[in-house]
């Protein structure tokens, strides 16, 4: 019966992709509007595709090198022979999701603007359903990849030790997450650098130097700015959440295989549970997407309510149906595991609300930053940093409480039952991400609405249309901010599950060594000579045998390196934005200087050259931080061994999560403090306070759109690299 239930996963995947195709066809059937609207959309499309092509070229080289490395490791007996291929498929599917998502988004902007000519509801429908294409493609491809690998590995891996086969299958599948992670890292870091270089460049010369409003076609960087919204917020966010989604399902499956080892059919059920929850959540996301509609002349609150209705409906239904799934599977402690799912969903919802509280101009923290603008830019920076730092307390405590509750409910309130408890944490992450189809749709909707506003502006559509696209855009800003909080929270929970899965991967690595050499000796001197002995080791045994405790300097050094990685990574990406923006500023200045007739609107600026500069800058700048993120766990493992890697992952996760929340919230609150002042507070637009707030917003741009989001990937990628390299780490380490 359990085997039959598995088929829900590929069916859900095909349905998700089918509906994505349906929404895409519906979108393409919409009219793109006037020739001018089409022309602008085409500029953005060409720029976005040029960026993606360039990014894929760089990523292909990196993938080729890593694949060769994994093949070599497999040849040397340090890794499963499937890993290199799993790695490639993970990267391929993640890249494909980004490609489809961005393609749709760039087709959607002009159509949304044109639909807004008819009505607000029509504009919302076109923009949201185009965002839904991204959401459904991400979950559809992730489930497809998971289902295909599960089928293939089940058929190919021999049944040696009962229970061991599923452990091998799930830990092998986990490695395709590294492909997704690597792709996501390049998408997030590259996209983040691109979008902010274009944005800052467009603003500094366009708005500040030439006094040109935003989205004015005379600004040479305006198309690059619009392209940036797509590559950063659509492709980057999509790849990030693809990885979290696949990572949480795979890590939980691996933890389930380990927790229920030697328990017969139960083990398969525990492996299938996260896949089924994700699959049913996908189907419910489709239901939720159809529930999103609003009435004409809706207020901002009603628009937000319309989106919320879809998300809430999906979440409510998954709460009910996940209980049914667990009940049908017949897993013991149904209520406890169901509790973990509910905890995961609540944790995601709560983190979104907390993000909204700290970044929305409707609440005290952001208004406090706006008030501090009255005393100049220095106090804006101080209060923004202070608020951002303080705000970390709430999501961190939410994750702490959520994790503990998920652990306790799954382990029947027995703190010593680590296996079940960790499985519960994984299940909570899956619960949080189960309705990603619709959650991501609301995230991807933001840049589509933003681009639609830009298209309406540049095409000179009427005031009524602009009012509607402005309302849609403003809603997109809110969903983008909460989406960032959700992405960070889910990354933290996924990384926790991956951390636990790392131990399972070590076990497989040791089994391989025992099979090849006949013996394996732990750092504490314990020698094992049979595969059965290794498979009997518990998680606590591993901690003990590898000396993973706080008095071990290798753990402490690893923690230092992990924490340092988070900060160094931020520093590298922030400086990258500065350098890339500088090139953009110089190019825009050059065009104003050398191309006659731009300001008169008689000559079209050279948009393509700005797109090319941002593309080149992003590709050049993303390489070093990305490669460092991959190299750090490998080198730490080779020097400090498993203990060092555990330290690295915990240090990286703890520091990276907190830093990511800080950067996203500080950046978001600076942005909205400026908007609050522009709405008429503290002297309004043009006042000294406004000037100070603009400084805060400019500082916050790379915080919230480049470094902060990239940290999500860093913490997951370091875990994934450690998992994939586990075989090498157990075989070699200097200390």
């Amino acid at each position: 019966m359990s085997n039959n239930l598995f088929w829900i996963v590929p069916i859900a995947s095909v349905l998700a992709l089918g509906f994505a195709w349906y929404f895409f066809k519906k979108l393409m059937a919409e009219d793109e509007g006037t020739d001018r609207m089409k022309e602008i959309a085409q500029h953005v499309r060409t720029g976005a595709m040029a960026y993606l092509t360039q990014q894929y070229k760089v990523v292909t080289i990196v993938f080729a090198v890593l694949t060769a490395l994994f093949a070599l490791m497999a040849f040397g007996g340090y890794q499963n022979g499937f890993v290199w291929f799993a790695f490639l498929t993970g990267g391929f599917f993640s890249g494909l999701a980004g490609f489809f998502g961005m393609k749709t988004a760039t087709y959607a902007s002009a159509r949304t603007a044109n639909a807004a000519q008819k009505s607000l509801n029509k504009g919302l429908q076109v923009a949201f359903r185009s965002g839904a294409v991204m959401g459904l493609v991400v979950v559809g491809l992730a489930l497809l990849d998971i289902a295909l690998w599960f089928i293939v590995l089940t058929a190919l891996i021999p049944e040696s030790d009962p229970g061991h086969k599923l452990v091998v299958i799930t830990t092998t599948m986990l490695t395709f997450g590294m492909g997704a992670s690597t792709q996501a890292l390049f998408a997030r870091v590259g996209g983040g650098i691109y979008t902010k270089a274009a944005d800052v460049g467009a603003d500094l010369v366009g708005k500040v130097e030439a006094g040109i409003p935003e989205d004015d076609p005379r600004n040479p960087a305006t198309i690059a700015d619009n392209v940036g919204d797509n590559v950063g917020d659509v492709a980057g966010m999509g790849a990030d959440l693809y990885e979290s989604y696949a990572g949480s399902v795979l890590a939980t499956a691996a933890l389930g295989a380990a927790a229920f080892m030697h328990q017969g059919d139960l083990q398969l059920k525990a492996v299938l549970a996260p896949m089924l929850i994700a699959a049913v959540g996908t189907l419910l996301s489709i239901v939720g997407i159809f529930a999103v509609r609003t009435k004409e002349n809706a207020t901002q609150k009603q628009l937000l309510g319309a989106l919320g209705k879809g998300v809430d409906l999906s979440s409510l239904l998954i709460i009910i149906l996940s209980w049914v799934i667990l009940q049908v599977l017949g897993i013991p402690n149904v209520w406890g595991l169901w509790g973990s799912i509910v905890v995961g969903l609540l944790t995601g919802w709560l983190i979104g609300k907390e993000t909204e509280y700290f970044t929305s101009e409707a609440y005290k923290p952001t208004r406090g930053i706006a008030a501090s603008a009255e005393t100049g830019p220095a106090t804006v920076i101080i209060s923004g940093i202070g608020t951002g730092m303080f705000s970390t307390a709430f999501p961190v405590l939410t994750i702490v409480v959520g994790t503990i509750l998920a652990f306790l409910t799954a382990a029947r309130f027995d703190m010593t039952d680590l296996s079940l408890g960790l499985y519960g944490i994984g299940i909570a992450a899956v619960g949080m991400l189960s309705t990603l189809g619709i959650t991501l749709a609301t995230d991807a909707y933001g840049p589509i609405a933003d681009n639609a506003g830009g298209n309406a502006e540049m095409s000179g559509l009427g005031p009524e249309v602009r009012k509607r696209t402005d309302a849609l855009d403003s809603l997109g800003n809110t969903t983008a901010a909460t989406g960032k909080g959700f992405a960070i929270g889910s990354a933290a929970l996924t990384a926790l599950a991956l951390l636990a899965s790392y131990i399972e991967e070590l076990k497989i690595g040791i089994v391989r060594i025992v099979e090849n050499t006949g013996t394996f000796t732990f750092p504490n001197g314990l020698s094992l000579e049979s595969v059965v002995d290794v498979s009997k080791l518990t998680l606590i045994d591993f901690m003990h045998n590898y000396d993973v405790h706080l008095m071990n300097p290798k753990v402490l050094m690893g923690m230092f390196i992990g924490s340092m990685m988070a900060f160094m990574f931020c520093g590298l990406t922030m400086n990258a934005v500065g350098r890339a923006a500088q090139s953009m500023v110089e190019e825009v200045r050059r065009q104003f200087r050398e191309i006659k007739g731009i300001m008169e609107g008689e000559t079209e600026p050279d948009y393509a050259s700005c797109v090319a500069i941002s593309t080149k800058g992003a590709q050049r700048e993303m390489l070093i931080p990305s490669l460092l993120a991959i190299a750090a766990p490998i080198l730490t493992g080779l020097i400090f061994g498993v203990a060092g890697v555990m330290g690295l992952l915990t240090g990286g996760l703890a520091a990276g999560f907190v830093l990511a929340v800080f950067m996203a919230n500080a950046g978001g609150s600076w942005d909205n403090a400026k908007k609050y002042i522009e709405s008429g507070a503290h002297g309004g637009k043009g006042s000294e306070a406004h000037k100070a707030a603009v400084t805060g917003d400019t500082v916050g741009d790379p915080f919230k759109d480049t470094s902060g989001p990239s940290l999500n990937i860093l913490i997951k990628l370091m875990s994934m690299v450690s998992i994939v390299m586990a075989g090498l780490t157990v075989a070699f380490s200097l200390l």
């Binding site: 006094g211 040109i212 503290h682």
Partner: protein, 257 residues
């Protein structure tokens, strides 16, 4: 090519040009090499206007197309004491230009005072440029400042009234939230002084205005007057700006620091 005559307020000057008003405004704001930008305010002057004070004979001689056939963009005829020598009836439409060269045209209308505010804030634009708080309505203020019997006066005045929001009637406790003026406390003090000391009718808030006007702070419009004449150029409402002059308004709201 047709020649035009303009009275510019940035700075006060009389200019002959072959550019029509919209192009002239763009030229004033962004120049020809596009390396400059800046707000501009100017009036179109009746082309038949003549005065011995200005060297009009130069116009025929020097305001000629360039050798490449392009129009002569500007021929400065005078750069000071211009306002006092151009009578009200010679002033035609007023043009407001944003930093990036968008131009809004305002037409003269008869002034009817419908404003019951107790206090006002005036930005003088020519011939001198102080910012003045006053208890006088625009017409009375104009007559007061151009009254040559006063120890301090000017022969003719161009000015604009700026918004005071709640401070206009309640300088002590009124909210100044959306007022972007520097040194709000000093402005409040000036207004309180005017409210309490009824003998006093004007107070200088700023001795010399030193930055562009934020168009969003214009209350009702621009005024040009002396002891006899009084021209009023009403500024459109926000709704009208949004609907009919969207590009200009968006540009006017863009603040470059």
């Amino acid at each position: 090519m047709k020649r035009y005559l303009y009275l510019s307020l940035t700075p006060e000057s009389l200019i002959a040009s072959m550019l029509p008003p919209l192009e002239f405004g763009k030229y004033l704001a962004v120049g020809t090499k596009k390396r400059t930008h800046g707000e501009a305010i100017f009036f179109q002057v009746d082309p038949t206007f003549k005065s011995d004070h200005f060297p009009f004979k130069d116009v025929d001689e020097r305001c000629q197309p360039h050798p490449d056939g392009s129009p002569k963009r500007s021929l400065y005829l005078s750069v000071y004491r211009v306002v006092e020598h151009v009578p009200n009836d010679a002033l035609q439409n007023l043009f407001l230009v944003t930093d990036d060269g968008r131009v809004l045209e305002l037409q003269k209308q008869k002034y009817i005072n419908t404003d019951s505010s107790l206090l006002h804030l005036y930005q003088e634009l020519g011939p001198v440029m102080p910012q003045i708080a006053s208890s006088l309505d625009p017409l009375t203020f104009c007559r007061f400042v151009t009254d040559r019997k006063n120890p301090i006066s000017v022969p003719r005045l161009i000015f604009v009234e700026l918004v005071l929001e709640e401070l206009a009637n309640n300088p002590t406790d009124g909210s100044a939230e959306n007022l972007p003026y520097a040194n709000i406390d000093h402005l409040r003090d000036c207004l309180i002084d005017l409210q309490q000391n009824t003998e006093k009718r004007t107070k200088t808030v700023l001795r010399c205005f030193h930055r562009d006007i934020l168009y969003r702070t214009i209350k009702n419009g621009f005024f040009v007057g002396d002891q006899k004449a009084f021209n009023f150029y009403p500024f459109p409402s926000n709704m009208e700006l949004e609907e009919k002059h969207h590009n200009w308004w968006r540009s006017a709201l863009t603040v470059g620091f």
